[in-house]
């Protein structure tokens, strides 16, 4: 294990972690405040990616694409909240899962109709295409550094929004005791719509930022959604701070497991079976982490009713 590898894998883990955070932040707020399980959150991620890719292709500007992706996420989230999710607040979780699962299928088919079944491969803008030496002798892809920066920026913005503004105060109050906030005469409908839009914007942003690293394709949302749920469970339902901690923990665990296990196991087993066992263990490492957290702290790392 060299210093180069350590730094590079840590950056990889951070980059994956902030992507997960962008997804998990919206998910945990929506669950914490409205008590809604929104499986369609991954569809907002996918929609953001497709709109962002289209705008990037049309205008030639990746920045415009990113803004459009986030805006599309917010707008679609708002429309969903006003037309469908609003009717689900009083229902139990199983109804919510059913309805939002139906939304996933609808979105996936809709995207196929509009964009076709073939994946779109975005390239990072030319200015971000190369590598930067983060430390002497350690080059790292510029675009991935930008993703880390954007994720941290979004986290700081969210921290300011929730910690320093009146809307944020109401959100915090809402996660702690929804009924009291309602009883105090706050327009809960407006508050819920706002939270949904912010969550949608972050998911759309994550989708379009993921475009140049992964591929923009139908079903991309479900893959990250499962891990985002793991983050929410690890971090504690309804806690943005928990989402940040959980996201970084999950991102680093996944990356480190894939990076370290083969080397570790090669000391114990013959190479061929070591690689095989490492591959199998690496793909479940995140879920092992979740199981451990659930066993030690069933409420998650940062439970909202502290």
């Amino acid at each position: 294990m060299t210093a180069t590898l350590f730094v590079e894998q840590t950056l990889n883990g951070l980059q994956f972690g902030v992507m997960l955070f962008l997804m998990a932040a919206g998910l945990t707020l929506i669950f914490g405040i409205m008590d809604v399980i929104n499986l369609a959150h991954g569809s907002l991620y996918m929609a953001g990616a497709f709109v962002g890719a289209t705008i990037t292709a049309r205008t030639g500007s990746f920045t415009l694409g990113v803004l459009a992706g986030a805006a599309a996420g917010a707008l679609i989230a708002l429309i969903l909240e006003l037309t469908i999710i609003r009717r689900l607040y009083a229902r139990d979780h199983l109804d919510q899962v059913l309805a939002t699962y139906a939304l996933i299928l609808t979105f996936n088919e809709g995207v196929k109709v509009l964009w076709g079944p073939a994946p779109i491969f975005l390239s990072a803008p030319a200015a971000l295409a190369g590598t930067i030496e983060v430390l002497p002798g350690i080059p790292y892809p510029t675009y991935r550094l930008v993703v880390i920066a954007a994720g941290i920026g979004a986290a700081l913005f969210l921290g300011w929004l929730i910690g320093r503004t009146r809307a944020g105060m109401l959100i915090r109050a809402g996660t702690t005791n929804r009924e009291t906030v309602q009883a105090l005469g706050v327009d809960v409908g407006l508050l819920f719509a706002l939270v949904f839009a912010v969550g949608g914007a972050l998911a759309g942003l994550a989708g379009v930022m993921a475009g140049p690293i992964l591929a923009v394709q139908v079903g991309m949302g479900e893959q990250i959604l499962i891990l985002a749920f793991v983050v929410v469970v690890v971090g504690g339902l309804g806690s943005v701070r928990g989402a940040m901690a959980g996201a970084l923990l999950v991102g680093l665990t996944d990356t480190w497991a894939r990076a370290l296990l083969p080397t570790l196991l090669r000391g114990l087993l013959p190479p061929a079976s070591a690689d095989q066992v490492a591959a199998n263990l690496g793909s479940v490492a995140v879920y092992l982490l979740m199981a451990v957290v659930l066993a030690v702290r069933p409420q998650g790392l940062f439970p909202r009713h502290a």
Partner: protein, 400 residues
């Protein structure tokens, strides 16, 4: 772009279908029984759609160039989509073989579909594979009515192992998805690679971000990286490999599947300088190949891939056997014997069948370059194997 392409190919398909009865009338000798049917089970939807699409288009090009005939006999190509589902492939095979009584079939792209459909097809019809070449059908399980005109699955991986060894590259880093074909691919590579395997990394089959593996590659500083990552997995890997700045440090190798015209337009410049193996290449200087590439491009407005060349060759091969048997494909022993002669001008050059009905052929190494028109294409740089036969032929009891 995809939508536009779908529409044109559908229109062309309708056009071909409309033309068939007319061609049938022009051949009174066969007209009573209708055109000879050739069944094509292939993958036309989902992540493997581009492969089946190219096999079908290559095959249809031969039929179209010959005015709706193969071997002088009017034919109807019955195409069905298996959507990469073995159970679909098997159901289609049952329909074609038992209900429609089709006696010549081809087209299956994926080995898992092939293995599901083979028990239905082979007792009643002759199958000539244009892609899938599972080892199960090449060794002890070989069959007199099963031919593979593309390759045995291991061949292209073996060729890269051989070439990397020839080049004196000693330390190789191998990456493949954690599923049977991924492990088989690396086994094929290792069969001919004589150096040190630094790491055999197996990734999740749905993995799209390879940052952790790329960091491990950088730290290991190998002489060569070999990947078998089909379809979109490969596209992501190649792009990320370039973005990580590794392309300039360590040469990237793979089988032709990750570096042909179905993926190169999507990967673009990031694939330049990568090396890959194939039994065929766009620039092979043979008259048959020039004619294939030119007519394919004129017909479909895109460059052919190795899959298209395989579909085209299978059509030529079936045509040669139909001509030799004068269209009596029902005499299965005679038809199989005619197929086994491989009496056709393959676009890849020299081609013949081994005792196990699998190819004995050259495998070439290609480098991804930009052509004069600025397109990202393959250029042939070396012959990894001359007249190469698969490792399973000795276990097959069929006579040569």
């Amino acid at each position: 772009m995809t939508i536009a392409r779908m529409t044109t190919s559908r229109r062309r398909l309708l056009g071909t279908a409309a033309a068939l009865p007319v061609l049938g009338l022009a051949a009174p000798a066969i007209a009573q029984s209708g055109p000879l049917k050739v069944g094509m089970i292939t993958t036309l939807s989902g992540p493997g759609a581009a492969l089946g699409n190219d096999i079908r288009d290559g095959f249809n090009l031969v039929v179209k160039n010959a005015g709706g005939r193969l071997g002088g006999v009017p034919v109807e190509v019955v195409v069905a989509d298996d959507a990469l589902r073995p159970e679909n492939g098997r159901a289609i095979a049952e329909r074609m073989v038992r209900r429609e009584r089709i006696q010549v079939l081809t087209g299956i792209v994926f080995s898992n579909v092939m293995l599901a459909a083979a028990p239905v097809i082979l007792p009643a019809a002759t199958y000539i594979s244009a892609n899938a070449g599972p080892s199960q059908l090449a060794g002890e399980g070989c069959n007199a009515n099963y031919f593979n005109a593309a390759w045995q699955n291991d061949n292209l991986h073996e060729a890269v192992g051989q070439y990397v060894t020839q080049k004196g590259l000693r330390r190789a880093f191998l990456i493949a998805p954690n599923y049977p074909a991924g492990r088989d691919a690396l086994t094929g590579f290792k069969r001919f690679f004589k150096g040190e395997v630094v790491s055999e990394t197996y990734t999740r089959l749905d993995q799209l971000d390879y940052a952790a593996e790329l960091a491990a590659v950088r730290a290991a500083a190998p002489d060569a990286v070999y990947i078998f990552l089909p379809g979109g997995l490969g596209i992501n890997f190649i792009k990320q490999y370039a973005a990580a700045g590794l392309r300039a440090r360590t040469p990237l190798f793979g089988p032709g599947f990750s570096f042909d015209q179905d993926v190169l337009p999507a990967v673009g410049d990031d694939a330049l300088g990568c090396f890959n193996s194939s039994q065929w290449a766009l620039d092979l200087p043979l008259p048959a190949n020039r004619q294939f590439v030119d007519t394919f491009e004129a017909e479909y407005k895109r460059l052919p891939s190795l899959y298209a060349s395989q579909g085209y060759d299978v059509a030529l091969l079936i045509g040669s056997a139909i001509a030799a048997t004068r269209g009596r494909v029902g005499d299965r022993a005679a038809f199989a014997a005619a197929v086994k002669k491989a009496d056709f001008q393959s676009v890849r050059g020299s081609f013949k069948f081994g005792n196990n009905n699998h190819p004995i052929q050259n495998i070439y190494m290609r480098e991804v370059v930009k052509d004069a028109q600025g397109r990202v294409v393959n250029r042939t740089i070396a012959t990894a194997f001359e007249a190469h036969q698969d490792a399973y032929a000795a276990q097959c009891k069929l006579p040569a």
